[in-house]
């Protein structure tokens, strides 16, 4: 280990309080650069969608940028950007977030904007029709008009899981999107966008007492509504191997993804941390097991990666979730050779364990990546917010490097024993189009 253990806990203090309407607030001051980040995380994601409304969480995210009670359409963007700030939102499996990074002097403006749309977004027929069109173009750009667009994040879940929450297309079918109504949107807002179902997290160049007063000034007026019950997203672990094939007429070469169910990221965090380092050991960089075996030794593949959660962040998902290994391989390499090599490499870890020096290197690299993410005010703030929403403790984001440094080789070996070839979900992508 190159950094002393004591250096691994990020020393950002975290203050928290809850408003009368139930909004949880986390403040993470750090005055080294004159930048603040303001984020609101709502506890509703793609896995909360009911049948017939696939893609609605994401469509609704777009609706939150269409103006609100006191802010006309386009003005949300103008008020942030004309203050020298940036903004965005994103829809995940278990949450939807909205955030701004701005010069510190724009803090109150961002708080006002988030409070205004938490109280009353402008859900109109015209805005809804417009954003359905925009979302369809987003899906065309990212999925339909490009090779590997749905691979594997939309194509693997139907093979790996059983429940509608886990298997459906979170980007949404065009049929569901087009049939969405204003009433659906107002119901969705009323059910899921209650202050008691959200976390407001503000980080960066701020004074805690002043910021608390600003938060109360603007968010206290948002009316209280009960938080919805948590959606049931867990499901029993699989007991068989499942295989599926998709054809991609735009892809010039095949690919394969293997998904294994992993321990509960929240309820069983200690075990899960072993899985986090296993994914890094398998796939991060030229020294990793799968890079060496698949690319360099056996020359079976052109690219490989392994990660936890469909979006690649191991700490922002709840159970049920997967470790995914994906491999792009030349057409003349049979997929079963690729699969056999992956299983063999996992089995080596499960059988022989991990040398301590190798694990120390993997941990050092993982630490550096966590630090790099925490170097930006926005990255740090989003980390605190998702840790508060998913794990109930913002502080966890600052402790992760130290927690990972304490993971033993035995924990990683145990994690590898969970990746059995007999319970894997395997998605084969066949390239059926000519190269174009």
């Amino acid at each position: 280990m190159t950094a002393a253990q004591g250096d691994l806990v990020l020393r950002h203090p975290v203050e928290r309080f809850t408003l009368d309407n139930g909004l949880r607030v986390v403040l993470a001051p750090d005055r080294s650069v004159p930048v603040v980040a303001v984020s609101v995380f709502y506890d509703v994601g793609m896995r909360s969608e009911p049948p017939g409304r696939t893609g609605f969480a994401h469509l609704f995210e777009h609706m939150m940028f269409q103006g609100s009670a006191n802010v006309p359409k386009m003005e949300h963007a103008r008020l942030v950007q004309a203050a020298g700030g940036t903004f965005n939102g994103s829809t995940h499996q278990d949450y939807t977030n909205y955030f701004q990074a701005l010069p510190a002097e724009a803090l109150e403006r961002a708080i006002f904007l988030e409070a205004d749309r938490m109280a009353a977004p402008a859900i109109t027929e015209e805005n809804l029709r417009n954003q359905i069109d925009v979302v369809k173009e987003e899906i065309r750009v990212n999925v339909l008009n490009r090779p590997y667009g749905a691979f594997p994040w939309l194509q693997l879940p139907p093979i790996a899981f059983e429940s509608f929450a886990n298997t459906h297309d979170g980007y949404g079918s065009f049929v569901d999107l087009e049939s969405s109504t204003v009433e659906d949107a107002t119901d969705f807002f009323s059910r899921y966008y209650a202050p008691a179902n959200a976390v407001l997290c503000i980080g960066g160049d701020l004074d805690v007492a002043e910021t608390e007063a600003l938060v109360r000034r603007w968010f206290d007026q948002v009316p209280a509504r009960p938080a919805p019950p948590a959606p049931a997203v867990g499901e029993p672990s699989p007991t068989t191997v499942r295989r599926g094939v998709v054809e991609d007429r735009l892809a010039p070469a095949p690919a394969v993804a293997i998904g294994w169910r992993v321990p509960d990221p929240v309820g069983d965090l200690d075990t899960y941390l072993g899985t986090v380092l296993l994914a890094e050991l398998l796939s991060e960089g030229d020294a990793s097991r799968l890079e060496r075996r698949l690319l360099h030794t056996d020359r079976l593949a052109v690219a490989q990666s392994s990660y936890l959660g469909l979006f690649g962040d191991p700490f922002d998902v709840r159970d049920a979730t997967l470790l995914v290994s994906q491999v792009h391989h030349p057409a003349d390499v049979p997929v079963d050779r690729v699969l056999a090599a992956v299983h063999e490499e996992v089995d080596k870890v499960a059988t022989d364990g991990v040398p301590a020096d190798e694990l120390a290197r993997v941990t050092a690299r993982t630490e550096a990546q966590l630090l790099q993410q925490a170097d930006s005010v926005l990255g740090r703030t989003l980390g605190f917010a998702s840790a508060e929403l998913i794990h109930g403790r913002a502080e966890l984001a600052g402790e992760l490097a130290a927690r990972l440094a304490a993971v033993t080789p035995e924990q990683v070996q145990t994690a590898a024993r969970g990746l059995s070839p007999d319970t894997a979900a395997i998605l084969e992508l066949r390239a059926t189009g000519a190269a174009r």
Partner: protein
């Protein structure tokens, strides 16, 4: 719900701006000619390393082969040295939290990594070893070459890559900048001997820049670089690209992509360089037109008409020429209307003045995002690497910010007239010609072509 009206009295005013810290830049020219830039800054305990080596093709007729060799050399550099094999190189970096990425574009090769502060000296020693003793071993090079060929095939299947390649070919003609992705057959012919020669000829300290940002002590870091890289003493001068030609835009090129459910619309033309006094005005004009969400193009073809998800414009710099470009991926059925609105908004920029409010918003956004972009070790390191590599210094940032703060509306209009006028831009659309050719012909002449991969 009735449409709200913005009541500005309700919007909290901005507070007093707080001063942005000025980076403490320590600049040294080492005896071998390497330029070293060290910037200590508070923040996380990491160091960001960027080594930029000039790597332009020396002449147009060499460009295709140079691009092919470079595409293998970037991965090949990490395949072994006199003292270490590929795995040992990767393990050493990993020990110190790093992973070296080696990339190249038409101007330069860039070695880039993050690392834990204690690893500075061993990582510098390793970098020195790569620079002076990379071996390009035959077996691993053969494997790397096959991977590059496969990856080029995958890249060429992406519509965005097809569009970018077509626009570059059209804009740059015989200039090496026309070369986006190397031809697979040229890559397949690259030998270890050719890589060793390219390395010997082009991986030179003269003209190269090493940037270290973060948890570093400037004196100790300068000493460490001096010792570690003292042995990098190759002879030779850096090669930069020749000036780009001034080509008159031809008719719109429609690259046929059968069955495409979207069309990738691209327009591009020259722009002022980093030291041109018109640059601040053009950057501001580009912002107002399509550079950010609050722009005219986004309001028109996304938020009003729903033709597209993320239309955008930008100003980008290469050593021998800068560019203004417009991009929009639009539904096939509205390709003509989307191009019409884009050209309309460009024409409006060129012919009529922007409002003071539009200009003020663009100005604040550019200043704010420059501050955000340089508020991390990694962001500052990449920004400084580009600036020093272009022969400028850190003071360019402050000078550019001062200029942005004062450009008046009239200068923005003048700049837009010269650089954003649609008549001066080259246009390319990638899409299903059977669906969109007739729509596009309404607006002017159209030349239909096949994607580059199918031409050859």
């Amino acid at each position: 719900m009735s449409a709200p009206v913005l009541d500005l009295s309700l919007v909290p005013p901005l507070g007093e701006p707080r001063p942005t810290p000025v980076p403490e830049v320590h600049r040294t020219t080492m005896p071998n000619g390497l330029q070293l830039v060290v910037v200590p800054r508070p923040g996380v305990p990491l160091v960001e390393l960027r080594l930029r080596v000039p790597f332009a093709a020396s002449a147009p007729r060499q460009a295709a082969v140079h691009a092919a060799r470079t595409s293998v050399l970037t991965g090949g550099l990490l395949l072994g040295t006199a003292g270490r094999d590929q795995l040992e190189i990767a393990q050493l970096l990993q020990t110190h939290g790093g992973e070296l990425s080696v990339s190249a574009d038409a101007d330069r090769m860039l070695l880039s990594t993050t690392l834990l502060p204690g690893g500075l000296r061993p990582v510098l020693d390793l970098v020195a070893e790569l620079l002076t003793a990379a071996t390009y071993p035959a077996g691993p090079v053969d494997a790397e070459r096959s991977r590059v060929v496969e990856r080029i095939g995958i890249a060429r299947s992406q519509p965005g890559v097809i569009a970018r390649s077509a626009l570059a070919a059209r804009r740059y003609g015989a200039h090496p900048y026309a070369q986006q992705l190397p031809a697979a057959e040229l890559v397949a012919a690259v030998t270890p001997a050719a890589l060793r020669k390219l390395h010997r000829d082009r991986v030179l300290p003269a003209g190269s820049t090493l940037v270290l940002v973060g948890d570093v002590d400037p004196v100790a870091a300068t000493d460490a670089v001096g010792t570690a890289l003292a042995g990098w003493v190759a002879e030779g001068k850096a090669v930069s690209a020749a000036p780009v030609p001034t080509l008159v835009p031809g008719p719109l090129e429609l690259v046929h992509r059968s069955g495409a459910v979207q069309s990738n619309v691209r327009l591009g033309g020259p722009a002022p360089g980093r030291t041109d006094p018109q640059l601040p005005a053009v950057r501001l004009a580009s912002m107002v037109f399509g550079g950010y969400f609050s722009s005219r193009l986004v309001e028109n073809i996304r938020e009003r008409r729903g033709y597209t998800y993320s239309p955008r414009s930008s100003v980008e710099h290469l050593m021998a020429g800068s560019s203004f470009t417009v991009e929009a991926d639009v539904a096939t059925g509205v390709t003509g209307p989307a191009l019409l609105e884009t050209v309309y908004e460009l024409g409006r920029m060129a012919l009529t003045p922007v409002t003071e409010a539009e200009l003020d918003s663009a100005r604040r956004y550019l200043l704010g995002t420059m501050a955000l972009g340089t508020s991390t070790h990694a962001g500052l390191a990449s920004t400084l690497s580009a600036l020093f590599g272009a022969g400028l210094g850190a003071e360019w940032l402050a000078e550019h910010q001062r200029a942005l703060a004062t450009v008046p509306v009239a200068e923005v209009t003048e700049a837009a007239r010269r650089w954003l006028a649609p008549a001066g831009l080259t246009a390319v659309v990638v899409g299903d010609a059977e669906e969109v050719a007739d729509q596009l012909r309404v607006l002017g002449p159209v030349e239909v072509t096949a994607p580059a991969a199918e031409q050859a």
